[in-house]
């Protein structure tokens, strides 16, 4: 690896998390439970895909092999994707989508806040902008989580099921490795292991207000950062990438 390669890899992790989650969220467009919510989910998806575009653009520039953000998004296979598993799971029902958005957005907020002061000026600027957007995302999903958790028996049961199902995928978000630690020493990355305590504090508060219960110890699912994904990602990418792969260089 050259000295640029680890930073490029790190930017792919950040960008792929947002691209895959943004795409999953965009699947709600036209299917939201109410019009305002349909618009809200599409807006959040747009923010995430926009963040991904900036991050993958920076990754391509750091890589310096003539690829651009589109090439990274549309011409990599699932084995080359570096997103955490939690973002690639199918969107489920509205409750599942809200629980995942809450768990991820809260993580992303602390991550962006740390990256806003990183040594790469471009990434710091992307982060400073994304912090503001992500605050809206956290508030949106937290409000819904309380409304659903503290709602009817049906809505309570559904979001509790979603929390139980998703919990085992949260551990991967806070794993750090040699690559990340090397970048942390150069002030180019946020140390994922330090994000867990503030994340957990925020999650516990909202889960309590939502009258839900945090799951106990589970086996942590992992593999996404190494390109080992669930079967769901490949199917999602097949749909997401079909046009540029079928018509290379297509413009409209």
């Amino acid at each position: 690896m050259t000295s640029a390669a680890p930073f490029c890899e790190y930017l792919l992790r950040l960008g792929d998390d947002r691209l895959v989650l943004g795409h999953r969220l965009s699947e709600w467009c036209g299917h939201g439970p109410i019009l305002e919510e349909d618009i809200a989910l599409a807006n959040i998806a747009l923010d995430l895909v926009g963040q991904a575009n900036l991050l993958l653009g920076r990754a391509a520039a750091v890589e310096g092999k003539g690829r651009d953000a589109d090439a990274l998004a549309f011409l990599r296979d699932s084995r080359e994707y570096r997103n955490a598993l939690i973002v690639e799971l199918p969107r489920g029902d509205f409750g599942f989508t809200i629980v995942r958005q809450f768990l991820f957005s809260t993580y992303a907020l602390h991550q962006w806040e740390a990256l806003a002061s990183c040594a790469d000026a471009d990434l710091a600027g992307i982060a400073a902008r994304a912090v503001k957007e992500t605050r809206y995302h956290v508030r949106h999903s937290a409000e819904w989580l309380v409304r659903l958790g503290d709602g009817t028996d049906e809505s309570h049961a559904r979001v509790q099921d979603a929390l139980d199902e998703l919990w085992r995928f949260t551990g991967e978000l806070f794993l750090t490795d040699e690559l990340e630690q090397g970048l942390v020493r150069r002030a180019l990355a946020a140390d994922s292991s330090t994000l867990e305590a503030p994340w957990r504090r925020d999650v516990e508060e909202v889960v309590r207000r939502a009258t839900l219960r945090l799951p106990g110890d589970v086996y942590w699912q992992r593999g996404g950062r190494d390109g080992i994904h669930t079967e769901h990602l490949g199917l999602m990418l097949a749909e997401m990438q079909v046009l540029p792969r079928t018509y290379p260089g297509a413009r409209w």
Binding site: I39, G50, A121, R129, A130, A142
Partner: protein, 168 residues
């Protein structure tokens, strides 16, 4: 290149031309008033307009860049370039009072002061005034509106839905 065009370019002339470039989603405000244009660099005949994106995923940014080049072209400044910077991050605090009044007159409630909110705070404390009747008896319908930069509200006094330019 004509003799006329060879006159020395001034920053003021470029900014005046850029004032004709409106945000396609908020056509009452120019890209200068919105704070999207951060700087103008002039080196001889070469003009570079430095811009910063509003929201990460704002779909209007590419159109805005094309409009900037076209507006300068029609003002006799050809071959202008647009350069994007990310720092400092765009904030609605840069929108001046005069432009806020234009927003209100257009029917969009202007942004309040952006600030740090608790991430898990439920509901906003401040009331947004209705741009039509001025009442503060309004309710937030959704923090996400027809574009990334707007929220949906409803005025209980004049029973009109309205949009707010979100503070960010």
């Amino acid at each position: 290149m004509t003799v006329n065009r060879r006159k020395v370019l001034s920053r003021e002339a470029v900014l005046a031309a850029l004032d004709a470039v409106k945000d396609p989603e908020v056509p009452v405000l120019s890209v200068v008033e919105l704070g999207i244009v951060r700087d103008v660099e002039i080196a001889g005949d070469a003009v570079t307009v430095v811009v910063t994106p509003t929201y990460s995923g704002c779909p209007a940014m590419r159109v805005i860049e094309e409009d900037i080049v076209a507006a300068l072209e029609s003002a006799g400044i050809s071959g202008a370039r647009v350069r994007t910077v990310f720092t400092p991050a765009w904030t609605t605090d840069w929108i001046p009072a005069r432009a806020r009044e234009k927003l209100r007159a257009y029917g969009i409630a202007p942004p309040g002061v952006s600030g740090v909110h608790s991430p898990v705070q439920l509901r906003r404390a401040e009331q947004v005034k209705c741009p039509f009747c001025g009442s503060a008896d309004t309710s937030l319908r959704s923090a996400f509106g027809s574009t990334a930069c707007k929220a949906l509200h409803f005025c209980n006094a004049c029973t009109q839905p309205f949009e707010e330019f979100k503070a960010i």
